[in-house]
């Protein structure tokens, strides 16, 4: 489903190369974990997947369902099924969360040539999804992410992910800022999305989340490259021995 080939990317503003020859393949139905120390380029990779213009791809390609997405803008990538749960979700003052959900869902439907959702159907979907994530409907009347706690923001990201039903989900540090109860709820929410036609990429630098969302593959990202790949035991190994060993091998 996702194939990243020898990707090189730099910051447009100052030309610093952040992604330096990265290769990664994730199949439909697969849950892949990307781990790595702070500053290794995990968030940057997620932004590049989603089409952020601050980065320029200088070499390599990103194939999604066999097609390059490099020419697509963020909205086109989103409507084609790519979703990014942000490490730091943005606040949108004055726009009620409900309103935002409605616009996003209907814009995606429009792009697919579907009718906008009728209000009762929309409300039902939101209520069901919010209940699963143990979210209060009153919160959804507030402007999106404005004054939300760290944990609330992360839940709101997963809520959006559930409602938009993407095919490629990228979760950037969704576990940070969540207490253990919230972590369980969010993990259940993510697990419920596991499906044969959907790929999930989980970015984290702790093993903790992977106890709840058990990955099919684990990849270590360091200095803009995948330096090691393995199965879920790799995550346990990293937890026990730190990144030093893996990084040392790579260096």
């Amino acid at each position: 489903m996702l194939e990243i080939r020898n990707l090189h990317a730099r910051i447009v503003d100052d030309g610093t190369e952040i992604i330096r020859g990265l290769n990664l393949t994730v199949k439909a139905g697969e849950v892949a974990a990307i781990m790595g120390p702070n500053g290794s380029g995990k968030s940057t990779l997620s932004y590049i997947l989603a089409g952020r213009e601050d980065y320029e791809v200088t070499e390599g390609d990103i194939l999604y369902n066999g097609r390059s997405i490099l020419e697509m803008d963020p909205a086109e990538r989103a409507t084609s099924g790519i979703f990014l749960a942000f490490q730091y979700p943005m606040e949108i003052p004055g726009v009620a969360t409900m309103e935002f959900l409605k616009v996003a869902m209907n814009e995606q439907r429009k792009a697919r040539g579907e009718e906008p959702l009728k209000i009762p159907e929309f409300l039902k979907r939101v209520k069901d999804a919010a209940a699963l994530l143990d979210m209060d409907m009153a919160m959804l009347k507030r402007p999106l992410n404005v004054g939300f706690s760290g944990g609330e923001k992360k839940r709101a990201e997963i809520l959006q992910m559930k409602l938009l039903e993407p095919k490629l989900c990228v979760l950037d540090e969704t576990d940070s800022g969540l207490d253990i109860d919230a972590l369980k709820i969010v993990s259940e929410g993510v697990n419920a999305l596991r499906a044969p036609d959907r790929a999930i990429v989980i970015i984290t630098h702790y093993q903790r989340l992977l106890q709840y969302i058990v990955p099919d593959s684990v990849h270590v990202l360091y200095r803009g490259q995948v330096v090691k790949s393995g199965d879920k035991s790799l995550a346990l190994d990293l937890e026990a021995n730190g990144y030093a060993g893996v990084i040392g091998q790579a260096a």
């Binding site: 963020p74 989103a78 943005m90 606040e91 726009v95 935002f100 814009e107």
Partner: protein, 505 residues
């Protein structure tokens, strides 16, 4: 809901250039020769069958106007206007003063339909009244609940249709064209006309006093809550006619009225001049709410054409505990020069100004308000949201002053500007002056650029760039949108989106 959606769809379909209302209607016009002179003023006055005192009033204003110079202090630039090269009177040639729908030129009704704007009003014009509960329920998705709006439509210079007159009359409310008021209610007009904006007030107001052709008149008597929203749609049609409306609204003791003004004008290469005067008078315990959605032709992508909008709007809180509230959504016009103001004369009176001014392309906006505190314990509130895109310049100009005797005057001002792109400008020019030590004035101002982070986030949810910007901008102006009557809120949001089209990419 259906009506509003309908309108929006219709507006979208009328796709002439960027400007969705750019078409011209072929209706026989009755007009005065070009230029301005005492004779033209006599012509206008005669056409309108005015009493001699009105003619004298106009002539006096004209004589003063010829001695005045155009003001230069606003941050707007435009080639000199040749006031002798304009037509000052143009009336659709139709049966004068139609009283029922069948009297109205069908072409005119088609114009309204094409405009798509007066949606419900059209229904109302057609005698359709929304009372069906199920329909109202469907509409409850934050659109409109009242479904009842009385319209006074100004087509170029003459008020064409006034609806709901009967029901209003039962309540004792007078809602008619100013020309009719001059004939039918001369005492009221004499008493109040020019009492807030005197003929000598400023260059454009003086010009307006000399040549005004039509506008609305509202009188709500003591103790009456006007049973419906009153609404006017202005539209300029004939080439090279300046439009000079004159609106006068009076709320007597304890009265309440909410008035909506909507404006639109067809697309043209040359600039059209518009210089209206609006006067509001609130007596003891009265309240007037005046809302405007202005989307006149802003000119084309190169800045050619568009309306020059030089407007004087002022409310006089003449009575104790009276209240006047201005809400405006300004998206159109090539040049906007407009400062709806409140004179807080009565003790405990209050004034409000809520404004959204969107500029794109080469538009120039210089708008704001004046809050003049004269009485004791008066308060005012100013919320201004300026959005500049393209090559536009957007200035907020505000004045808050407390008179020597205005003890405990309070003002809160919040002025936020949002920039889209880096070719446009936003400017804030606040003046504050307190001659009484007990005055408490608070001023907050921010200028921000639309954040790339926010835009990326919104687009990542599948919302295309222009819609993403419209969404963020609508969030930014939420505080003001909430002040609009339900009927206008949704429409205003769509208009903001439409007027920002082409601001990116």
């Amino acid at each position: 809901m259906p009506a509003v959606q309908d309108t929006i769809d219709r507006v979208r379909k009328i796709d002439v250039d960027q400007y969705k209302y750019g078409f011209q209607t072929e209706i026989a016009m009755d007009k005065a020769p070009k230029g301005l002179s005492e004779d033209i003023i006599r012509f206008i006055s005669a056409k309108k069958d005015e009493p001699s005192w009105m003619l004298e009033w106009r002539l006096e204003a004209y004589r003063r106007w010829v001695t005045l110079d155009e003001p230069k202090w606003a941050r707007v630039h435009y080639p000199k206007i040749d006031f002798q090269d304009l037509y000052y009177y143009a009336a659709p040639k139709s049966t004068p003063g139609p009283t029922s729908l069948s009297d109205v030129d069908p072409e005119l009704l088609r114009v309204y339909e094409k405009l798509g704007i007066p949606l419900r009003e059209q229904e109302i014009l057609a005698g359709v009244q929304k009372t069906d509960a199920s329909e109202l329920e469907e509409a409850s998705d934050n659109v409109y609940k009242s479904g009842r709006v009385a319209v006074d439509a100004v087509f170029d210079s003459v008020s064409v249709v006034t609806t709901f007159k009967k029901e209003l009359a039962q309540a004792g409310v007078i809602f008619c064209s100013i020309s009719e008021a001059i004939r039918e209610h001369p005492d009221l007009v004499k008493k109040y006309l020019g009492s807030v904006v005197p003929t000598s007030d400023n260059f454009y107001a003086t010009l307006n006093s000399a040549v005004f052709t039509d506008g609305s008149f509202v009188f709500v008597p003591k103790g009456v809550r006007c049973p419906m929203e009153l609404s006017t749609y202005f539209r300029m049609n004939e080439k090279n006619t300046g439009q000079f409306e004159r609106t006068l609204i009076i709320a007597e003791e304890g009265a309440y009225v909410s008035y909506l003004e909507g404006c639109t004008a067809p697309q043209r290469d040359e600039n059209q001049l518009h210089a209206a005067v609006v006067e509001l008078i609130a007596l003891d315990d009265a309240e007037i709410k005046y809302s405007t959605v202005q989307n006149w032709y802003p000119g084309d992508a190169e800045g050619k054409g568009g309306i020059y909008n030089f407007v004087t709007k002022r409310g006089d809180c003449r009575g104790h505990r009276s209240k006047i509230s201005w809400t405006q959504v300004e998206t159109g016009s090539a040049i906007t020069w407009k400062y709806p103001s409140c004179i807080l004369r009565g003790d405990d009176s209050s004034g409000e100004f809520y404004s959204i001014a969107v500029s794109n392309g080469y538009q120039q906006v210089d708008s704001g308000t004046k809050m003049i505190h004269l009485g004791k314990n008066t308060s005012s509130r100013i919320i201004s949201k300026g959005i500049a895109a393209g090559f536009s310049q957007n200035t907020y100009r505000g004045q808050v002053s407390a008179h020597r005797k205005a003890t405990n005057a309070r003002n809160f001002t919040n002025c936020d500007s949002l920039l889209i792109g880096d070719q446009c400008g936003a400017h804030t020019v606040p003046y504050m002056e307190a001659k009484n030590a007990t005055a408490q004035f608070e001023h907050e101002a921010t200028t921000s650029k639309i954040s790339e982070d926010q835009k990326f986030y919104v687009m990542q949810r599948g919302i295309p760039e222009e819609e993403a910007i419209a969404l963020i901008v609508n969030g930014f102006v939420k505080d003001v949108i909430q002040q609009l009557p339900m009927e206008f809120a949704v429409e205003a949001q769509k208009l903001i989106g439409i007027s920002l089209e082409g601001s990116v990419g």
